[in-house]
């Protein structure tokens, strides 16, 4: 009996050691808007490549139909972070006392483009005099871009809200609106088929190129409680972006499968519409121009103070090696 006891103890210890995980995996619940866009696919592609797992993070990704639905669960503490939340919306929610913090930039500049029917005589923005030009909804990033177009190119076209890219395409093809908007990969098939032509890209407006239009937000309390987890999350996020712009062909294959487009289209989306700088997460740019716009669009009553901005924007900087 005495000779068996140490063996049994060793066996039990071995079983317990093998059953225990090598390291605790932290779970993060994310709400993500704009499913299918290249810039909102970072967590999807990074997870598929095992990058988040490498940092002991497991993601539960829930897709939403817009910035509001992305933000609400974060404010309610039902999601840890929200991706692709409009910067103005995040600022507005914070100003109203919502426990929300911006932890990273999600899109600086925009890949959205404006198009017209190929049968229409509109070839550039200058041809839009007396015509209608679409944006999604009041206060959205596309609204800001159309305002920027109007200012920079002295346009006289009438801005018209048309909703999402699907509804906008229908409106353009049925001549209800002259110029529509879309975000790739949406519309690339129609361009290839010769139904529509691009007449402007969001980045044609100087103002847009330097603006962080969408952010990653977290609940203030969750951020406080899981600061170290968020730091690891952001590290994995940065590595995922590097992976997305690497020569690894798997990333294009995974994105094509995720969105349901051909690999050629997926590659075109990345190479022609989304420069890597658009996805940089470490700086919120263009606040000087966005705060007055937030006031004008009634997101806030007055521009935020420096102290308020410092509390709102808590970028999770990369760890220094």
């Amino acid at each position: 009996m005495t000779s068996i006891a140490p063996l049994a103890f060793a066996a039990a210890a071995a079983v317990m050691a093998s059953a225990a995980p090598a390291a605790a995996v932290d779970q993060l619940k994310l709400t993500i808007g704009q499913r299918g866009n290249w810039d909102t696919a970072v967590t999807q592609l990074g997870s598929k490549a095992g990058i988040f797992k490498k940092h002991d993070i497991e993601l539960d990704m829930i897709y939403t139909s817009g910035s509001g639905e992305t933000l609400q669960p974060v404010i309610a503490g039902r999601a840890d972070a929200g991706l692709a939340v409009g910067t103005l919306g995040a600022i507005g929610a914070y100003a109203k006392g919502a426990p929300v913090r911006i932890i990273a930039a999600q899109a600086t500049g925009a890949a959205d483009y404006w198009y017209a029917k190929t049968s229409a005589p509109i070839k550039t923005l200058k041809d839009t005099a007396g015509k209608t030009i679409a944006f999604s909804t009041r206060g959205s990033s596309t609204d800001s871009i159309v305002r920027a177009f109007t200012k920079e190119f002295s346009l006289t076209a009438k801005p018209t809200p048309t909703g999402n890219p699907s509804a906008t395409l229908t409106a353009v093809m049925t001549d209800q609106v002259d110029v529509g908007w879309a975000s790739p990969p949406f519309g690339l098939k129609e361009i290839e088929e010769g139904k529509i032509r691009i007449i402007a890209k969001a980045t044609d407006a100087t103002l847009v190129r330097g603006q962080t239009i969408r952010t990653i937000v977290a609940n203030a309390r969750t951020l406080q409680d899981k600061k170290e987890v968020f730091a690891r999350f952001m590290q994995a996020y940065r590595e995922s972006i590097d992976y997305m712009y690497s020569s690894n062909p798997q990333v294009i294959k995974d994105y094509a499968e995720f969105v349901g487009v051909s690999e050629a289209t997926a590659r075109k989306v990345r190479d022609e519409f989304f420069p890597k700088s658009l996805l940089q997460p470490d700086e919120i740019k263009g606040l000087d121009s966005m705060l007055p716009e937030a006031v004008e669009l009634k997101f806030i009553a007055e521009p935020l103070t420096k102290e308020q901005l410092a509390e709102l924007i808590q970028i999770q900087k990369p760890a220094k090696h």
């Binding site: 709400t31 299918g36 609400q72 669960p73 890219p165 699907s166 395409l169 049925t174 949406f186």
Partner: protein, 258 residues
Amino acid sequence: MRTAAAPAALGDPVTQLRIVIVLTLLVTWELLARSGLLYRDVVPSLLAIGGAMYKLLSSPDYYYHLGVTASEIGTGLAIGGITGLVVGIVLGVNRFLSRTYESFLYYLGPTPKIIFFPIMIMWFGVGPGSKIAMGTLSCFFPIALSAAAGMRQIDKVLIRVGRSFRANSWQMATKIYLPAMRHPTINGVRLGLGVAIIGTLLAETKLSNRGVGFLIIQAYSLFDMPRMYAMLIVLFVLAIGANALVGRLGGLDSLKRA
């Protein structure tokens, strides 16, 4: 018996008219799709929709999503149905409570329930809980109001008989009230099922990573209209089937025949 029943059903003028309506709709759709009068990608041909439906029904992934949505609707209907029934019975029995609360139900009933979705997210999270809650909330009102109306329509003689036999509350509910108010209640459940489907799917389109609503909004956002219509048709057929099943289980067929 069955072989004789089928031709008899086809010979029924109502059935014939229904078939004609469906065929007219299909032919009109196809003519519009081919005419070029409407944007063709929004009104795809029946062939394209049929192809998309074949692909959809051949995909095991679709059945997973369908299962998710069905379980959310089923759970929502069960919770909303039972609470609606209980509330309806209480309101139907108690005149004071009815006068106090029933008008609120009438006011809240037609309110678009999606406005409560942020509250549901706060209470039940971003997972299936908030979708079930939307289904529950949606079906509660028609079921409660139908049950209350059904209670008031019960023959007073039946109630007096139950009381003269000194039936307790449970016996009164199970032996007198529920059997006597079956038909209006089942009609309420059928209405409730419809709005539970709408509420749950709407919630899935807003915030989800699974379910038929999620698939529909994905197809729409990619402008994959044939796939979207295919999913809507399948959903429509399933809703008809579920509705008929509820009607049959509730004995509405026998009422119609009578």
